[in-house]
Amino acid sequence: MPTAEETGMIEDISGRIANAAIKELFVKYCREVLLFSEDISPELTPFEIRFNGPSGFRAVVSPYRELFRVSIGAAGACDIRVSAKGGLISALDMSLNHFLECIEREDS
């Protein structure tokens, strides 16, 4: 489970999103990424939250008024704009796949 500090971090930056439904998707995304592994740590900047994990896992989430953007991979190789459940599903699926690829690299 995310720590109280991590939860607070997510709640703080989610305040940038005006739409309550999108804010809920944002919180779900962040909480689920933290559940991938205890080794994933969030880093808060004024405009985004960065998740860094083992073997180069990286996801950067930038909240806006009506959506949030997820950049997956070291060079932001994949960008997903989330404004509905379909976007959340894509963002989670691709983030999970990226995380597992990082685990594979660690094991091989």
Binding site: S37, I89, L92, L100, E104
Partner: protein, 266 residues
């Protein structure tokens, strides 16, 4: 795992398992079933990977398999059985719910965050004459599942049995942990053994000399590179899974026969 001179396949030992050896000893007393739990310590990332590998190994060798997985965190078994993201992610996106699927005629799986969610569902494959294996995979922390969770896991097992209902503890448990010594699992094993004195315990250790303070039937050493296919949307097919399944069934068969023999002698 100890090296084998001649690798065995499940059919080599399934005749032992098939020769009904429940304590009643009555060939017509009910379906041949076995229950194995896959207990994965929180922090060990591969609950679903292991579950899908074991489920596939049993099913590929003529057993009907009900593969149950509970616990928070991704991936779940739906990922490894190549479900559409909208399906395997439904419990996350929709806040709850159950993921189910039948990758083959003899394998059915169900995933939910909580064991109670698996109580209201029924298997989606036809019950046949083949032996039935229930695999229940879950995460634990600290000294093992708390009594409430343990009760729910047993309830979940009982719900999916074909045969006699009742207080059904697992026949065996495979424990995978992040701690080499796995001392935290002691209380858990003691509790399970209080329900089933013949419980088979296979425990993962980072090295073959892993230390425990409780009796273990087999220390499991994971093959190097086992998780090298962790991102593939396919169940793993490493021989490790088949070897484990064979060893579990072999031990179970001998133990059941021993019980029958001792009942007959008394």
């Amino acid at each position: 795992m100890h090296p084998r001179r001649t690798p065995k396949e499940l059919p080599d030992v399934s005749h032992l398992f098939l020769s009904r050896s429940d304590p009643a000893g009555d060939p017509g007393s009910g379906p041949v079933e076995a229950v194995f739990w896959i207990a994965v310590e929180k922090g060990f990332l591969h609950r679903a990977f292991l579950a899908s590998g074991f489920g596939t190994a049993f099913a590929a060798n003529g057993m009907d398999v009900s593969l149950l997985e509970v616990g928070a965190g991704l991936p779940n078994v739906g990922y490894y059985f190549a479900m559409e993201p909208s399906n395997y992610l439904a419990p996350v996106v929709e806040c709850g719910g159950v993921v189910t699927g039948s990758p083959s005629a003899s394998l059915w799986f169900a995933y939910a965050h909580e064991p109670v969610s698996l109580l209201g569902i029924q298997r989606e494959f036809e019950d046949g004459e083949r032996p039935h294996v229930i695999l229940l995979s879950f995460s634990f922390s600290g000294g093992g599942p708390d009594p409430e969770l343990l009760g729910e896991l047993v309830g979940c097992t009982v719900h999916h049995l074909r045969g006699s209902r009742g207080n059904r503890w697992p026949d065996g448990v495979l424990i995978f942990g992040v701690d080499d010594s796995m001392r935290p699992a002691e209380r858990f094993i003691r509790t399970l053994r209080s329900g089933n004195g013949d419980l088979i315990v296979f425990q993962h250790s980072a090295d073959s000399a892993g230390r425990t303070d409780h009796e273990v039937d087999e220390m499991l050493t994971l093959p190097e590179g086992l998780f090298g296919s962790a991102a593939r949307r396919l169940p793993p097919s490493d021989p490790f899974f088949n070897d484990c399944a064979v060893n579990l069934l072999e031990l179970l068969s001998y133990r059941r026969k021993r019980i029958v023999s001792s009942d007959a002698n008394s």
